[in-house]
C-alpha cells in the first residue's frame, strides 16, 4: 500500500515537472518560433559598415578613373578620325598613340591600386552575409518558411538597370539603414552581387597583371589595340554602369483582395 502511494507521488511529480517545463518553454519561446517564421538578423553592424566602405572605395576609384577614361576616349576618337589607325607613322599619330598608351597605363595603375582594397571589403561583406544566410535561412528555416518571412509589404524603391558600383552599394546601405522590407531578398541580392563583383575583381586583377607585362615588353606603345578598347569598355560597364533608370518595382500585394480566407490555405 505504501509502495503504491510512493509510486503515485513519483508519477505525479514527473508529470508536474514535464508540464511546468513545457509552460516555461512556451513563455520563453520567441513568438516567431510559435508562428513558425524565424526571426532574422541578416545585417549586423560589421556587414553594414563593410557595405558603406565598399561604396566609398568604389566612389574614390570612379572619381580617379573618370578623367583618365574620358581622355583615353577623346584620344582614340582623334586617333581614328585622323586616319592614324591605318598604320600611319606620321609623328602626330605616334604622339597621340603614346598619349593613349600613357592614359591606359594610368588607368591600369589606378585600378591596381584600388582593387585590392575593394576586394577586401567586398569579400568581408560577402563572407558576413553568407554566414547569416546559412545560419538563419539555410539551417534555421524550411523552404516553406522562407515565404512566410517575405510578408505582404510592397517592394522598396530601387534604381533599376545597371548602374555604377558606388551608387549600387550606396543604395544597398540606404535600404538597410531605413529598414525597409523585405530584408531577406535584399540580403540575398547583395550576397549574389558581392560574389559576382568579387569574381570580376579577380579576373580584372589577372588581366591587369597580364597587360602590365605586355606594356613592359614594349609591344603596346605606338598602337591602339582592340584589347585596350575592350578593357576600357569592360571597366566602364562594371564600375560606371549604364544610365540610371529610377523607378518602383511593380508592387504585388499593395491593393485590397477579396477578403475570403479558406481553412484549406497553409
Amino acid at each position: 500500500m505504501e509502495e503504491n502511494i510512493v509510486k503515485t507521488r513519483r508519477t505525479g511529480c514527473i508529470i508536474s515537472g514535464i508540464v511546468g517545463a513545457v509552460v516555461l518553454l512556451a513563455f520563453h519561446m520567441p513568438a516567431n518560433a510559435q508562428t513558425g517564421a524565424p526571426q532574422l538578423k541578416l545585417f549586423p553592424r560589421d556587414v553594414t559598415e563593410m557595405l558603406k566602405e565598399t561604396g566609398e572605395t568604389a566612389r574614390a576609384m570612379e572619381n580617379s578613373l573618370r578623367g583618365v577614361i574620358a581622355s583615353f576616349e577623346n584620344q582614340t576618337t582623334l586617333f581614328s578620325q585622323s586616319g592614324c589607325d591605318a598604320g600611319s607613322d606620321d609623328p602626330g599619330c605616334v604622339q597621340i598613340a603614346e598619349q593613349i598608351a600613357q592614359n591606359y597605363q594610368k588607368m591600369l595603375d589606378i585600378m591596381q591600386e584600388n582593387l585590392p582594397r575593394m576586394k577586401r571589403t567586398i569579400d568581408a561583406t560577402s563572407t558576413g552575409l553568407a554566414s547569416r544566410l546559412r545560419s538563419q535561412l539555410g539551417k534555421n528555416a524550411t523552404p516553406a518558411q522562407l515565404q512566410e518571412i517575405l510578408g505582404p509589404e510592397s517592394q522598396p524603391d530601387v534604381t533599376k538597370g545597371r548602374f555604377s558600383l558606388s551608387k549600387r552599394f550606396a543604395q544597398y546601405y540606404r535600404l538597410i539603414s531605413s529598414q525597409q522590407q523585405p530584408l531577406p531578398t535584399l540580403a540575398a541580392e547583395i550576397y549574389l552581387d558581392t560574389s559576382s563583383v568579387s569574381q570580376w575583381i579577380d579576373l580584372m586583377e589577372a588581366e591587369i597583371g597580364r597587360q602590365q607585362t605586355i606594356i613592359e615588353l614594349g609591344r603596346m606603345y605606338g598602337s591602339v589595340t582592340p584589347e585596350m578598347v575592350k578593357m576600357v569598355d569592360n571597366v566602364k560597364s562594371i564600375i560606371f554602369g549604364e544610365d540610371e533608370v529610377r523607378g518602383t518595382v511593380p508592387a504585388g500585394p499593395a491593393a485590397e483582395f477579396n477578403t475570403f480566407e479558406s481553412n484549406l490555405e497553409y
Partner: protein, 190 residues
Amino acid sequence: MEATAMFRHIHIKNVLPVTLIALCMLSTACAQTSIVRSNCDLPSSNRLNAAIAEAQATLAQRDCAARFDDIFDRLIYIAQNDTDTNNRREFSDFLNWSRDQNLINTRQAKDLYTRYFSHKFVSLPRDYQTCTHCREIGTITRAMKAELVSKQTGLLKICGERDLYARAAAEYEDLQIILEATCKACQNGE
C-alpha cells in the same frame, strides 16, 4: 463390389444437386452485378456552381471515387470560362466536402486549394532545413514554376484576382533569389 457401386450412387446423388444449386446462385449473383453499374460522367454544365453540384452527385457514388482527379480537373476547366471572385469559396467548399466524404485527405485538400488559389507555394518543402534541399533546388524551382502557372489559372482566370496573382509572381521571383543565395551560402560553408 456392390458397396463401391452403392457408394458411387450415393455420392452422385448428393453432390450433383449441391453443384447445381451452387451454379444457379453464381449465375444469379453475376446477373445482379452486371445490372448495377455507376454513372461516373464528368460534369457538363458551363456554370461552376451547377458543375460542382453534378460533381458531388457523381462522387457521392462510391464507385466513382477513383475519378476525383478527372472531375476536379474538369471543374478547373469549366471555371476558367465562368470567372468570378467567389469561385475561390466555391472550390474551398467543394474540397472541404470532398475531404469530409473521405475522397481525399486533409493534406490533399490543402495542397489542391493552395496550389490554385493562394499566393503561397506548396512546392516549397515544409520539412527539414533549406540547406538539406539544395541538391534538389533545380527540381524545386521547376515545380514552383509549374505551380505559378496553376496559380495563373486559379487566381487570374478563375477568380480574376489580379493583385493576388501579382503577389504570387513577385514572391516567386524573390524566392528564386533567396533560394539561390542561401544554397550558395550553404555550399560555401561546407
